[in-house]
């Protein structure tokens, strides 16, 4: 496993034969959701997000908290792939067992200023874990590459 500390984003890469996984840790659930999102974009893109140009609203629901984390990351991946939207700053306004409401300051992906590291096709449910251990929330997420 490799620890990535670039740009203050903390995640561990999990070795997976075909694909790629990460392990993320944070003190609160909201911070865990944000750290997971930042990790996803760090896996895909080099460099830092530029200036925000638009604030968007995201509202999601799911049968349980782990599924909600999957939906959150899948939503961000869709916005990036379909609309070239790159999150700059996240504001999670509400987070329950089944629902999430967030506002995100976003910019547009510019291939001239940021290199792509790799394509992430999807966020899988395989081996998906979200749990609290002592004072930290932990997530384990596998991506399809």
């Amino acid at each position: 496993m490799t620890r990535h500390l670039k740009n203050m984003k903390q995640y561990r890469l999990i070795d997976h034969t075909a694909d790629l996984g990460i392990s993320v840790q944070a003190r609160t659930l909201k911070k865990l959701f944000i750290a997971s999102a930042e990790s996803l974009f760090d896996l895909m893109l080099e460099g830092r997000a530029g200036r925000a140009s638009e604030r968007i609203t995201v509202k999601l629901d799911a049968p349980d908290m782990a599924s909600l984390l999957n939906r959150w990351l899948s939503e961000l991946l869709y916005l990036f792939n379909a609309k070239k939207i790159v999150p700059v700053k996240y504001f999670i306004r509400e987070l329950t067992e089944n629902t999430l409401a967030a506002e995100i300051d976003t910019g547009r992906f510019n291939p001239g200023t940021r290199n792509i590291r790799r394509e992430i096709k999807a966020v899988t449910y395989h081996d998906l874990k979200l749990e609290k251990k002592k004072n930290f929330w932990n997530a384990r997420i596998l991506f399809d590459i």
């Binding site: 490799t2 034969t17 075909a18 869709y78 394509e119 999807a122 449910y125 395989h126 590459i145």
Partner: protein
């Protein structure tokens, strides 16, 4: 070694069986040589074979080909067939890249004669076919209505719009179109992602190669397939791009949300599955067939772009260059097919996740041109080794007419990147006479030859198990990657 490994027993030189225990409804069966078995034990794929065996309505065995490796839900290399009345269909049993597949194009270009120009030709192809993450713009952006026509008609749509000829269609599985596709089963999000990606390769393990046919094992079958030793061929590997990824994601979410209502438990949430007869099952199959058609159209358009670029490069027509499609096969699909079972000829839903359909000579679904020879089964290896053309044989009845799909990964992507540090993969391959061009930095390290199993060993295992026969070997000369 995973705990499941100790439960497997060796049946013969190429078969390993896991007895049905716990919630498994059928045994597991993996096709592998002793040498490949040692590699298989290093990851979690064998547990995934056991997980698939727990799904309702599974028939015979939960199977895996010798290129099996750890996937998500199903193992990569997995094959499982389900009863149409009691069985299920699983988006995780097909994967995100629906109908990721390969297409082989033969030519009358002698490799010796074009080798001095290979760098220039490769650069022309690199520029002619968009590749890389989110690549787009190969053809004009399609409206949603036009996209729905692609979904209904697949490669037929491409041919009707000038991308290839009618003759190509019989050389594509299902003659270029799965009839079950229903545009209404697909979300606007999928259409949004797919509207400007037709005719693009994408990234990761997708590629366009110029190969030389370096060895012929079966002269008669190779002649039927139009394969001539020392001549050039083009190999295209890509799928349904963001369109397929979104459809899989949409249905994993929809079926996963309904799972409690279907009356069975899952050992892995990625195996979310709906009864074939349910509305969810019907809708997923209809949408998946639409994505399969999109992928067929995608490879048809890429072939057209390759041919136009090659014609311009040599200043003559494709006809004079002898460029012709050999066959186009899918690696990630579910399909309703008839097979012999203990109950006689039975319609089943066969999932192939990283496996190739492999029809024997005489099969009614084969086009007339290949009916006496068996289906061409195209197996890409890795960019530093070789690929194979096999032919389907009757022994594959055991695997619901399925064979392997490639070499199969052996190194994780992280390990490949670590192993590639301080090395130039491009230079190493260049020393072997293989020219490589890639758009993204990380791709070459993650896809380096050592990241894969020995494809010769994999192919020998499927041939040894009687699932296929070897026809020809291809050696890469120039590789274009996303």
């Amino acid at each position: 070694m995973t705990s499941k490994m100790t439960e497997f027993r060796k049946i013969d030189d190429f078969r390993w069986e896991l007895p049905a225990t716990g919630n498994m409804r059928v045994p597991g069966r993996i096709f592998a040589s002793e040498q490949l078995w040692q590699q298989i034990s290093a990851d979690k794929s064998v547990s995934q074979v056991a997980n698939v065996a727990c799904l309702p309505g599974i028939v015979g065995y939960s199977m895996a080909m010798p290129d099996i490796h750890w996937g998500y839900g199903f193992p990569i290399g997995g094959v499982a067939a389900f009863d149409m009345n009691e069985g299920v269909i699983s988006p995780g049993g097909v994967g995100y890249d629906i109908n990721c597949g390969v297409r082989l194009i033969a030519t009358d270009l002698e490799m010796d004669k074009i080798l001095p120009k290979i760098k220039e030709l490769s650069a022309v192809l690199f520029n002619a076919i968009p590749s890389g993450v989110g690549s787009s713009g190969a053809i004009r952006k399609l409206s949603f209505d036009e996209m729905k026509k692609v979904v209904r008609s697949g490669a037929k749509w491409a041919v009707e719009h000038g991308f290839g000829s009618q003759e190509d269609l019989v050389r594509i599985e299902d003659e270029g179109c799965m009839d079950a596709a229903e545009p209404g089963a697909i979300s606007d999000r999928a259409y949004e992602r797919g509207k400007d990606q037709l005719g693009t390769l994408g990234s990761g393990n997708h590629f366009l190669e110029i190969d030389v046919i370096s060895e012929i094992y079966d002269k008669e079958t190779a002649a039927v397939f139009g394969l001539k030793q020392d001549f050039a061929a083009f190999l295209i590997h890509t799928g349904s791009r963001g369109f397929g990824y979104q459809i899989c994601d949409d249905y994993l979410h929809r079926i996963g949300s309904q799972q409690a209502n279907f009356g069975f438990a899952l050992p892995d949430r990625q195996l979310a599955a709906a009864p074939i007869k349910s509305q969810e099952g019907h809708d997923y199959y209809s949408a998946m067939a639409g994505a399969a058609n999109y992928a067929k159209a995608n490879r048809q358009i890429i072939q057209h772009l390759v041919i136009r670029a090659v014609e311009r490069f040599f200043g003559t027509s494709a006809e004079k260059l002898g460029i012709r499609l050999v066959y186009d096969v899918a690696h990630n699909t579910a399909a309703f097919e008839e097979h012999q079972t203990g109950k006689g000829k039975t319609k089943l839903c066969v999932h192939r996740k990283g496996a190739t359909r492999s029809l024997p000579a005489g099969h009614q679904s084969l086009p007339e041109i290949y009916r006496a020879a068996g289906q061409p089964v195209i197996i890409p290896g890795n960019m530093g080794d070789c690929s194979f053309v096999l032919a389907g044989v009757s022994g594959a009845g055991e695997t619901f007419n399925s064979s392997c799909h490639g070499a199969g990964r052996v190194l994780s992507r992280g390990q490949a990147i670590r192993d590639a540090r301080g090395r130039s993969i491009t230079e190493e391959l260049s020393k072997q006479g293989i020219l490589v061009m890639a758009r993204e930095r990380g791709t070459l390290a993650e896809e380096m030859p050592e990241a894969y199993k020995n494809v010769k060993e994999v192919v020998s295992a499927v041939a040894g198990a009687g699932l296929c026969k070897k026809v020809a070997k291809l050696k890469p000369v120039a590789v274009t990657k996303g």
